[in-house]
Amino acid sequence: MSAASPLESRPTQRQSAWLLLTLGLAVAPHLPRLPLWMCAFVLMLGLWRWYLAFTGGPLPPRLLLFAFAAAGVAGTALHYGTLFGPSGGVALFIVLVALKLLESRTVRDAVLLAFLGYFLVITVFLYDQSIPMAVYAAAPVLGLTALLAAFAHGAGDPGLGTPFRTAAALLAQALPVMAILFLFFPRLPQPLWGVPHEAAEGVSGLSDTMAPGDLSRLSLSDAVAFRVDFQGEAPPPSRLYWRGPVLTRFDGRVWSMSLSSGPGPGALEPLDAGVTYTVTLEPHQRRWLFALDLPGRGPEKTLLTPDYQLVAQAPVRSRTRYTATSHLRYRAEPGFSGEAAERALELPSGGNPRARALALTWKRELGNPAAIVQRALQFFRAEGFFYTLRPPLLGAEPVDDFLFNTRRGFCEHYASSFVFLMRAAGVPARVVTGYQGGELNPLGGYLIVRQADAHAWAEVWLEPSGWTRVDPTAAVAPERVERGLALAAASGEPLPVLMRPGGGWLRQMRLAWDALANGWNQWVLGYGGERQRKLLSRIGFASPDWRSMAALLLAGTGALIGMLAAGLLWRMGERRPEPAQRLYRRFCRRLARRGLARRPGEGPRDYADRVAAARPELAAQVQAISQLYIALRYGAEGDPRQLKRLRILVGSFRA
């Protein structure tokens, strides 16, 4: 047969344009991540195809396409160093799809491109799974589905309206089934194969070192560091010290983590029942986790170091949830001595002579470590120190320069110089970095901790209480600890937008949005094997395994499809009465209410005669209606004027 199958025919111009547009929508979120030359390359190929679709010109020769493909693959390999893994693989995929455009002639090719378009959408989720992206992705999915419907339509070009309605209906009906599959499809706890780790770009957060200016830079970011759900009441803000890296080594300018860590956590004598909370940590590519000062027990598969840092087995590369218990009142490592104590007293051999001299004076005058601590805090309070997010740069002797010249600093300046003074005065001390405070979201009942809440404080070892937290920043700017960065900073300081105080409804809006995003993170993005098991045990499966999930999956999907089938096929075999018939039946119902029901098998003429005999006053109307009906239904095909008359007559008929 010569007639080509519909799949071999060409897509219409409108369909081609629509396909290109939808593929453009699907690839758009990738563009900012791609090198500029690749964006230009892909865009050029797409526009070229568009031009060819509208002029009907011939597609480029195969040889040219091969050259393009070679160039694209080589460029990708050069730029990413690999053709695999998310970045390189996705870039290569985009290049190949763009090349496929210039090789697509028939509807069959276009259908394949639509499938590739779905695949493009899923690759976008490798980078962004936020609510706005999910909403955005609905657009290309709907567009591609409508295209499939248009291509499946055999009877000529159906336009775009009908396929769009079909696609919308299909997707809407698929949603409940999707929900069942999403909930009960067994999830694997681990990836199937090793996912290559890619250096995350632009992730801000604490680092394992601290130099002057590091934390004040973080204070410019309102990105969320983590969110916390407390079991029970949240402690007051002044107690919310989120412990991160503990920095013991000092080279005169930079504090860094101690390399040698002893076996197991230091001794801890809790003095309260403890606070339990669940942290949802945004990925920060480092191994440490954050816990309230001081963590007594970490979650499984984590480690507590001798200096009470909570550390995960692997760097945190995806949003991670963990539950920990901390004690706000404690005695930490009361019997502390030896090598560890020496490390907590180490200072570079030279530098910052004025600070050393001041510390030695205190040591001589006071002798008692606790008194020295109080003296130092008194020094910060009384000597005109100023808390600012924009501290001036420090010279070659940073501690001296800060303590005696600039006296303007952010938390890292205070913590660093305080610990320096303590060590110089013979009191074991170290710097602790982390976050302080957080914003309670009343809508979700959880705490939001942002990068701008980054903080540094000091720990000194005292007899008999052991390691004791001292926050020299609190001596200078108590509001920082009591009420957060926003209220501590002087007006005119460069606070990030979301950290600024006040804001009324705008603040309400962003809190509502954050609550939504948090719910999304917890229940959609964080839905995995563990939550799945919890859900199953909640609905009554004692020991949920893949079998119970498969059973639920099949039963749920089957029930939904069955319901859908019933809904869709309901009345499909039924015939739609013609308008005249509908009007006539209404007329019969009216008479039936007056006790003159039409008998089975009674023709309209006989019926009309019977009614006319029983109710002579209605005879004229009844006869007119019956005759019109007979004429309409059995006479020449539909006269719209007669139908209109029948409608009026039946409408005004009162038995």
């Binding site: 989720f125 499946a152 055999g154 079909t166 299909l170 999830r187 096929l569 075999g573 039409r598």
Partner: protein, 349 residues
């Protein structure tokens, strides 16, 4: 469903008149739910669930493969939205099965108009597809062996006539073969189809002989054998073209003026009669005789000469009406094919 009363009335005393008047009423007659065919035998088929088959298309398999890849990717990269998209597309595929099924379920397929044809010509069968449901059925396709697939959309409550054609190779009854009603809508991932056997046959007349020998005018020696094809007759008017008319009689001028294809009719001077006699064609084989007789029937009809047909076992007295022409051609078509009266009810005109 139509009420029982309406059904009863349909078969009531004055139904016959209505049927006769409309011709199509039988097709409107009610059917019982689940019945596979009703109306006249095999003239109408309603596609019930058991008749409809569904299988994935090649595209559907490719789509499934893509979903599998997406699932593996989502598992490996722990992409919740990847799972969501994969499941959404999978669920959409499943739902599309229901939609494909719905497009065909309850569809009514009935025989439409079919006109007799000559052997060697294409026979066109009209097939009516009727959508009795309140929902549209989109992209319903009809296939018949040897005929290009045809598609249509069926709005609620409407009937569309699709035609399939076959080349008639020999005279006699040409039966419609098994039809396939199918659809790839809504996504092309699945194809739903239903085989349909309609009892529809078309009468194929013998192929008229190409060489135009004059009919045996020798019956009228007085005339000395008129040259039926020559000039000399009077132009009597135009009538619609019928298959088998000689191209020489087509009114090309009228065709050029787009007045349709018309055939010139001529009237002889006298209304003499011609007998087309099987016996006089001795020496030719059966098919060649029938071919020549068919040609003569057409010629006489065009020229307006009353003709009679004498076949072994059947004689038709001379006449010059369309019914006569039909009857003669039918007799020729069925000659020697056993029972000259067709065993099945005739196709509706």
């Amino acid at each position: 469903m139509r009420s029982p009363a309406a059904n009863a009335w349909e078969t009531g005393p004055w139904t016959a008149r209505i049927r006769a008047g409309l011709g199509g009423t039988a097709r409107r007659a009610g059917h019982l739910p689940g019945s596979e065919s009703s109306g006249r035998d095999g003239a109408r088929v309603v596609l019930t669930r058991r008749r409809i088959f569904i299988l994935p298309t090649r595209q559907g398999l490719v789509f499934a493969g893509m979903l599998l890849l997406m699932l593996i990717g989502a598992t490996n990269y722990q992409l919740s939205l990847g799972f969501a998209l994969t499941f959404l597309l999978g669920a959409m595929g499943m739902v599309s099965i229901l939609h494909a099924f719905r497009t065909l379920a309850g569809l009514e397929v009935s025989v439409g108009k079919t006109a007799p044809a000559f052997a060697g010509e294409a026979v066109t069968f009209g097939i009516d597809l009727t959508n009795r449901s309140p929902r549209p059925r989109l992209s319903v396709a009809l296939s018949h062996p040897g005929s290009p697939t045809v598609h249509c959309d069926l709005p609620p409550g409407q009937t569309r006539t699709l035609t399939v054609s076959m080349t008639a190779t020999r005279r006699g009854w040409l039966r419609l073969q098994r039809l396939t009603v199918h659809t790839r809508y809504p996504l092309g991932l699945f194809r739903a189809w239903a085989p349909v056997e309609l009892k529809l046959q078309c009468l194929v007349y013998p192929r008229p002989e190409d060489i135009r020998l004059p009919p045996p005018a020798a019956l009228h020696p007085m005339e000395g054998g008129r040259d039926l094809l020559g000039a000399g007759e009077d132009f009597a008017g135009l009538r619609d073209y019928r298959p088998g008319d000689s191209p020489r009689h087509i009114a090309w001028k009228a065709a050029a003026q787009e007045r349709g294809t018309l055939t010139k009719q001529f009237s002889g001077n006298a209304a003499e009669e011609v007998w087309l006699d099987w016996e006089r064609l001795a020496g030719l084989d059966t098919e060649a005789r029938l071919s020549r007789l068919a040609r003569w029937v057409l010629e006489c009809d065009v020229l307006g000469i009353p003709y009679g047909l004498r076949l072994p076992g059947a004689t038709r007295p001379p006449a010059l009406t369309p019914e006569h022409r039909r009857a003669c051609l039918k007799a020729l078509a069925l000659f020697g094919l056993g029972d000259p009266v067709r065993p099945d009810p005739p196709p509706r005109p």
